[in-house]
């Protein structure tokens, strides 16, 4: 088979769409870690919860938009509950306590999905308006995946504006650097933490319902995504939003191009990429030293 420029370009665009899902999941993970220093092992389960909540809503309403809203709201609410009731009492006890707790939360959520919806998984079809594809000049590409990339970029732009240009954003940035100073200044840090945890979980839920038409939903669907999201977060630098974005899209393209040249190694490509980045930059592309200590 000839490797043409068109083929490489098609593969790269495919990788960007793949990266969009990585980015959506990893941004939430990175936000939670950056502000709360919680390594959230329940993040993959929030991704799954979003997919299931969205599909269940779609069954009743037939609306993909309503499915998206339900995915965000339900996963954000479960995220908020987890932070307020379960994670918060463990702050200050070391990084491994919330890590193990969130690991347990993920087991509970996955089993709950098995009990409520069965083990066989669910499926959701795209609305007709989002089906079909467009000719990019070098190949056909599904419309939905193009919209997924565009939507992710718009969301990231809004997130950047929110963090850089609003009072809440200022609090988040300050909280990530020194929560003690925020307290001294009279800011209720616990509310910020609650909001960030819920927001991160909501983003994971949104990624879940956006990915569901492409891969379906199963109770275990978050497992693989969690691994990918952690790789993206580590490569980008733990706690760095910009890092999560660059690494997410970069890894998507790297995996896709590896598929072109050596398809059997496509999964491995992600970990090789991570190893190389960590050898050169031990804190990731945009990471700060000492966050884990």
């Amino acid at each position: 088979m000839d490797i043409t420029l068109d083929l490489v370009l098609q593969q790269a665009v495919t990788g960007l769409a793949l990266g969009a899902v990585y980015v959506l999941v990893a941004v939430g993970l990175s936000l939670i870690f950056g502000l709360l220093t919680v390594v959230n092992f329940a993040h993959g389960a929030f991704f799954m919860v979003g997919a299931y909540a969205g599909i269940a809503t779609h069954e009743y309403t037939g609306s993909f938009l309503a499915a998206g809203v339900a995915a965000v709201v339900v996963s954000a609410l479960i995220g908020a509950f987890s932070e307020r009731v379960l994670v918060r009492p463990l702050y200050g006890r070391g990084i491994d306590y919330p890590l193990l707790l969130t690991f347990g939360i993920s087991y509970v959520l996955v089993d709950a999905a098995r009990i409520l919806f069965g083990r066989q998984g669910l499926s959701i079809d795209l609305p007709e308006a989002l089906q079909g594809g467009i000719d990019l000049g070098f190949g056909y590409f599904p419309l939905y995946r193009m919209l997924l990339v565009a939507g992710t970029l718009v969301l990231l732009a809004l997130l950047w504006l929110g963090i850089e240009r609003t009072r809440w954003g200022l609090i988040i940035r300050a909280g990530a650097r020194d929560p003690l100073i925020l307290r001294v200044l009279g800011v209720d840090v616990s509310r910020v933490w609650l909001a960030i945890f819920a927001f991160g979980a909501g983003l994971a839920g949104l990624a879940g319902i956006l990915a569901a038409p492409l891969r379906g939903a199963t109770p275990e669907m978050g497992d693989g995504v969690l691994v990918s999201a952690f790789v993206v977060t580590v490569v980008g630098g733990m706690g760095s939003l910009a890092g999560a974005v660059v690494a997410g899209f970069g890894l998507g393209v790297a995996v896709s191009l590896t598929t072109l040249f050596a398809p059997a190694f496509s999964d491995l490509a992600m970990f090789v990429f991570m190893a190389i980045v960590l050898l050169v930059r031990p804190n990731g592309l945009f990471g700060r030293a000492g966050l884990l200590s």
Binding site: Q11, T14, L214, S256, S266
Partner: protein, 414 residues
């Protein structure tokens, strides 16, 4: 004296009473042994990606137990099903098999599919326990893994992929360019070995083989490469979620507009979950589809019994083979008049049975069930008679030893 006079008769009475008690206890034990159930261990991955198939497979096994017991069992001995979850983990499956053999003293272990199938085979072979798994595997009947007490109820990849090739390649017309998308583990590799020789002998040109890791969740990055090969037919050699996601994303990428798609094994539960649109036009093989009941009386009888026991639900492919994996050995036990393994093995070798899809028997060299393979395609909902009327049967390849991998190719002495 008084003590002595009293003690004499008391001792005699005690001895007599004790003897009577012992005799009655012994007789009771003999009687209990006579009524002791025939325990059937059933190991399936109830937890994990194949949980839906495993669950309905258990329902099929329950039908076998109920039928055997209704027919009087083995001289009054009833059968009892002991279901264990292997979590699709070979280590777990091995532990469960040992527990069933040592603690429950099972007469048969059946069910298994996926990676645990060979792990359980290692245990049953060592312990000399009768074993009848269902998963699609050529390895289980090859000489290296063969055991005198292992039979194999399910169709092998060689049978499924060969039947598909014989059906689909002649329908391709002048150009017969075929690309393969293969799940990179033993299942996918065995399907390739079954498909390629038959397809090429019928004039197909294999233009490329792309392997993907097991459990991949995004196949979009494989499609540009496959499309660039310009095949007339894409054969998807994967199972379960891998196959479902491939079909879904192939629809999304418009792959079906540029080539036909086929798969050696289409699974009932997966088609129900994903719906017709993703399976539309795809041709595949299967061991069973309940819709053959109008042509085959044993299928009708099995379906009716299954529907009666399970709330009107129609049996899936896995339910049917799950039923046969228990029913055939139980019939052999009845024919042999015992559960003793050596005698049951001899009875199974001699068995000619028609339990759910026409005549079957176990081939002598490898004890593989010789059986028909159905070629199917998805049926549009508007043509369906009931909700789970999901496939159309395009062809039936009758069971024949010629359709199995040769005994010599599997390493057996002929």
């Amino acid at each position: 004296m008084i003590t002595e006079t009293r003690s004499g008769p008391d001792r005699r009475r005690l001895l007599a009473g004790g003897t009577a008690l012992l005799a009655s206890a012994f007789a009771g034990r003999l009687s209990a042994q006579g009524a002791e159930p025939i325990k059937v261990g059933y190991i399936v991955p109830l937890t994990g990606a194949y949980g839906a198939d495993a669950t309905i497979q258990v329902k099929g096994a329950e039908v076998a137990i109920a039928r055997f017991n209704e027919e009087g069992g083995l001289a009054g001995r009833m059968a009892q099903l002991l279901v264990r979850d292997d979590k699709l983990n070979p280590g777990e499956a091995s532990t469960r098999a040992q527990e069933l053999i040592e603690r429950e003293n099972v007469a048969l272990i059946a069910g298994c599919f996926g990676a645990p199938m060979l792990a359980v085979n290692a245990v049953t072979r060592q312990r000399g326990v009768l074993y009848n798994p269902v998963g699609a595997s050529d390895a289980i009947v090859s000489a290296s893994d063969w055991s005198a007490t292992t039979f194999h109820e399910g169709p092998t990849p060689f049978m499924l992929a060969g039947a598909l090739a014989r059906y689909v390649v002649p329908t391709l017309g002048g150009s017969k360019r075929v690309a393969l998308l293969v799940s990179d583990y033993v299942y996918g590799h065995e399907m390739v070995r079954g498909f390629v020789p038959v397809a090429t002998s019928l004039g197909a040109e294999i233009v490329g083989e792309v392997r993907h890791p097991l459990g991949a969740t995004d196949y979009s990055s494989y499609f540009p490469r496959l499309l660039a090969m310009k095949p007339d037919l894409l054969v998807v050699m994967s199972f379960g979620r891998d196959q479902q996601i491939t079909f879904k994303q192939a629809t999304e990428f418009g792959v079906k507009r540029q080539m036909r798609i086929a798969a050696p094994q289409l699974v009932h539960t997966a088609r129900i979950i994903d719906g017709h649109s993703h399976y539309e036009g795809i041709v595949g093989g299967t061991g069973y589809y309940w819709g053959i009941e109008n042509e085959i009386p044993s299928a009708k009888a099995f379906n009716d019994r299954f529907r009666r026991m399970h709330g009107g639900q129609n049996p899936s492919d896995y339910a049917a083979v799950g039923f046969a994996s228990v029913m055939a050995p139980l019939i052999a036990m009845r024919n042999a008049g015992t559960t003793e393994t050596k005698a049951v093995v001899a009875a199974l070798k001699a068995l000619r049975y028609d339990l759910y899809k026409g005549p079957q028997h176990y081939r002598a060299c490898d004890q593989q069930a010789v059986q028909s393979i159905l070629i199917i395609t998805s049926k549009p909902p508007k043509e369906a008679s009931v909700k789970d009327d999901i496939f159309k049967v395009l062809a039936v390849e009758q069971g024949s030893e010629d359709r199995l991998a040769s005994c010599a190719a599997l390493g057996h002495k002929t």
